[in-house]
Point group: C2
Amino acid sequence: MLRTRLLTAAGALPLLIFLIGYAPEWSFSGTVLVLTGIGLWEYFSLTRAQCTLSPVIGKLWGMLVAFSMVSGDMRLIGTALSLGFMLIFILSLRDRYPARGIQTTSLFMLGVVYIGFLFPHVLWIHRGPEGAEWVFFILLVAMLGDTGGYVVGRAWGKRKLLPHISPGKTIEGGVGSICGNGVAALIAWQYLLPNRPASELVVLALLMGLLAQLGDLCESALKRACGAKDSGRFFPGHGGVLDRIDSLLFPIAFIYYYNTLWN
Amino acid sequence: MLRTRLLTAAGALPLLIFLIGYAPEWSFSGTVLVLTGIGLWEYFSLTRAQCTLSPVIGKLWGMLVAFSMVSGDMRLIGTALSLGFMLIFILSLRDRYPARGIQTTSLFMLGVVYIGFLFPHVLWIHRGPEGAEWVFFILLVAMLGDTGGYVVGRAWGKRKLLPHISPGKTIEGGVGSICGNGVAALIAWQYLLPNRPASELVVLALLMGLLAQLGDLCESALKRACGAKDSGRFFPGHGGVLDRIDSLLFPIAFIYYYNTLWN
């Protein structure tokens, strides 16, 4: 299991570094759109039993929002969010049971905001000043956090964190994850964003790490609520795209608004 | 009942005309914020039994989004939507039952987008070119549509429109409502927006009327889903604010994006 993981990482890392740091913008945007599409696919497959509208409508709406995010035009984003919301709400009127119609509308809204709206924020970070560096920083925090959590949880993990949502996670692992975040901040300070004060990067990394772990738990709660173990079924053994990006979604939104509002 | 309605209208209309057409911008914004606040209050009271987080959190989040809409700053709106969403999702992890936590998150999201995000779009219409005229046009379409639906439904109403959601509405009333919309378009062409082609105003009025009726049904579905008859309990006899603005929400969003994207 660990070996497969490491091999996958060794194969994917150079590609990721190339896409973020060196490839033309459109190829990064394209990759993000494809990942968003698969994430939406997984979300609407997961929640299929809870919703009475066709998942295809949800995927289309989510992709419409994602494309509007690529455009960066606030009028298009507002249109995609508002008109899609109205359309779903109206379509759900056909449900014989209003409670089920409302549940469908609200779960569609949740998925579209969670994946179609939050994830493409990474494009806006990437286009900003030192964009590639910030995206690398987010990935570094997530990867070293995961590694720290895995190693420490394996070696000393005893007390369960939130057993009703994610039985494998321990408090010790969570602490190891935070240590990994700290290391990521120091590496970022040395190699990625040297003109930023180390204290700022450490605080950001710790907050991102916290959001990553909580975001991971949110996705687990979503899967539990739908009675599934992995988000994706068409990548056997690897889990789904949603399982991979779940810990990135919250830090991405956080860093984008931090950078836009504070700087 | 009809008499009370007419008296209320006679009292409220001059105030409304003054606020939209002649009062300073801040008083119109303030009125919209107060109505949004009461609407959110009603929504989160309605859905209280379905959610396990305190309604206060939902109202605060909704008001935060509404205030960001008043500012018109896209960065603030994005922050209010994204960070609030993350916070609610994270708080709902405390629920013992993940399915209930997800339901809470999604219903909170629905209410905030439905009222806190959609309704304040009327401020953006009002600030645009011929803003007051467009707001009057929306109100006129809604009011004459309501009147046409009431009169025709009373006189000839037989076939039920969607009995599982709104038992009082008939297909004949719906047709009467559409006639009212058409009359509103002609009045708007004569007195409010004479530089627009009549055909455009008629098409817009008919689309708005359709959205108003469907939006009305959406709010009814919401109340049915929550087992309530009126949205508000603290305005005895009058229904709630949500019952009044439900038919305005969709036309407002529609007209704002129509004007922004087409003109």
